[in-house]
Amino acid sequence: MIPELGHFALILAFWIALAQGVLPLLGAATGHLGWQSMAKPVTAVHFGLLLLAFLALMWSFVVNDFSVLYVSQHSNSLLPTGYRMAAVWGGHEGSLLLWAFLLAFWSIAVAVFSRTLPLAMSARVLGVLGLISTGFLAFILTTSNPFDRLLPAAVDGRDLNPLLQDVGLIIHPPMLYMGYVGFSVAFAFAIAALLSGRLDAAWARWSRPWTLVAWVFMTFGIGLGSWWAYSELGWGGWWFWDPVENASLMPWLFGTALIHALMATEKRGGFKAWTVLLAIGAFSLSLLGTFLVRSGVLTSVHAFASDPRRGVFVLIFLAVVVGSSLTLFAWRAPKVSMGGRMGLISRESFLLANSVLLVVATGAVLLGTIYPLIIDALNMGKLSVGAPYFNAVFVPLLAPVLFLMVPGVAASWKEAQLHQLVLRLRWVALGSLLLACGVPAILQRMGQGEWLWRTSLGLFLSAWILFGSLKHVLERLRQSGRIPLSYWGMQTAHLGMAVLVVGITMVKGYELERDVRIGIGETVTLRDFTLELKRMENVDGPNYKALRATLEVKKDQRIVAELTPEKRRYFSTAMPMTEAAIDSGWMRDLYASLGDPVEPHPQTGAPRWNLHVYDKPFISWLWAGVLLMVLGGLIATLDKRYRRSSTRVVQA
């Protein structure tokens, strides 16, 4: 009964979304105020219905209703309740429902917080969001209904993929989706502005806080995904250039360019058309990302194509979104003024250069992600594009972006003097250069690792950003006048970037790994640590059995840590899972993962196991950097300007 209720709510939500998409837009076009003012109540109903559908599906998971096909595929009666609730988004259908639900959530947030927006503008924004939701709900209802029944009901479910049974992965998809879906608000604002023909500073100011919040969620989601991959997958890596990861990185890169371009548009009226294109691009890439990850196209292009309903719908949906918005852009953009003039050396020009570089980098990632799929779909052979490509492309494309962050902040709007910039930043440059050469040289002398030019480059860039930011903050504090929150947000986020780059540089430059066969009482040394295997024991979990190794870590004869990597076997799938053990610290992580048993010791005949241990210097800085960026984004969102400005619009 409950699943049918959810299904019914979903069907109703589709029609309501259609009304939300059509009426306010028509009202705004014809000037019919009644239709425009319908946008908000309709949005509220839309949200209520999707909440009902979402709760209905979650209910089915909680009560173990295995007569629902989706539940039987992604849950199991042994699964703890928390994981059962999270299993709602463990597969394709539920993820799409979560997407639609979050879209309705963002829409209602826009409706609530846009009281001060002109009626026509909020009607257009909510209308565009309604159209997107209509498309999504049509997709869910026709091809991916999570409420489909399974008759006769399964006795027990197939269980959630053991890899997904982790706190990190429970909150990772909702965070990422909040980001994906949040870009639809930036998109809706851009389309609404195009429709109204008013691409002005006010539009940029309205759009900025929404875009920032979306970017914050996205940043947090990606960081969480990376941390999960690091701590769960047991391979010691934190970024694999996997299509699944690339799918989230692409909209992030676009979104980063977008939040900066919006600032230039708001402050100086600069490159408006480019900003609109970035908004359209960020949302299109979010859509592409959702479909890439959740449609099964990555596992097998042919299986995907063999269920053509989904594939065709996805392609049509993407084509409609991208095609119609670009057509609208081409129709309206020539009317947009080019904005204020900018000098060759100015904050605008640095921002523009960086956003172009970010777009090029996105293009490179897109090429590497999509090309193998296209070639495969056309039956032209099978190939893959590995991590070396992405590394080779990303460093030269993003190093200038990081470099320009400092003069971009230091330069004034409109026109800056190059020689003045050089003069102001010369000590920063010199200090960074010294650090970039000194640290690897000292580390090499200490025998910690070779001096690589990439290490110097990374250290230089992070020191450059760090010192540049510090200098700018000090200068700013000496000036009179209140410093807005958005300034502190920006500096915090930039500092986060510097910290992230330190982490990446140090891990890439100095990580050590050892792959050994080890028995009880044997040791392995890693840099100045000695790891001894103390014991092996069997442990029982709620829905798995595990073999646990206990490793004692000693440094200078003192015990500094204990690592307990596990090999788990889940009852429902009989699939083994490596559970890595990590001892985290500010300067380094020790990481151990347990492999299979191997042949016994040649002399003693004692049993031995495969063991992989890593020393990962500064890897915590990666997560710290991401958290600082998230914090910076949040601080910037809280800036009073966004609230004050909207009230001023009403008075005007």
Binding site: S300, H302, A364, D515, P602
Partner: protein, 148 residues
């Protein structure tokens, strides 16, 4: 007039840098494409001798062998076999009789030295490349049995 010249130069420099970036990307792309070959293709000498590629198929039952440092297994598409040497740990999903994909290079003995044995995050899983290799072999077999 002067500012127009300046703008022209700026645009030209921008375009030049963009094309440099494009050249960089495409060059890196071309040199990092990793092609896939089935065991039959490798046995037939179609695979490159001196560059990396991927191979996929089934892990032959009873072929997994580990000595103190290194190990090896046989990957098959039921028609032809290729020996794969590896070092280090095998992924969780690795099992005899299951699908596998490995990336690496051929050595002088015609054995495949894997730099990476690939794993994916799914249990009911056959790597798409491995499935492709099996399908190809099955199709060839079917064609051969029909012919005579």
């Amino acid at each position: 007039m002067k500012s127009r010249h300046k703008r022209f130069i700026a645009i030209m420099v921008g375009l030049l840098l963009l094309s440099a970036a494009a050249a960089l990307v495409l060059n890196a792309f071309r040199s990092n494409l990793v092609f896939f070959f089935t065991p039959t293709q490798v046995a037939g000498g179609e695979a490159p001798k001196s560059s990396a590629f991927r191979i996929g198929g089934m892990v032959k039952e009873g072929s997994l062998f580990r000595d103190s440092e290194k190990g090896s297994f046989v990957v098959t598409d039921t028609q032809k076999d290729v020996v794969v040497k590896y070092h280090g740990m095998l992924p969780d999903l690795f099992k005899e009789g299951r699908g596998v994909v490995a990336q690496g290079q051929l050595n002088a003995q015609g054995e495949f030295v894997a730099s990476e044995v690939l794993a994916k995050h799914d249990e009911n899983y056959m790597p798409p490349e491995a499935k492709h290799a099996m399908d190809q072999a099955a199709a060839r077999k079917a064609a051969e049995t029909v012919k005579p």
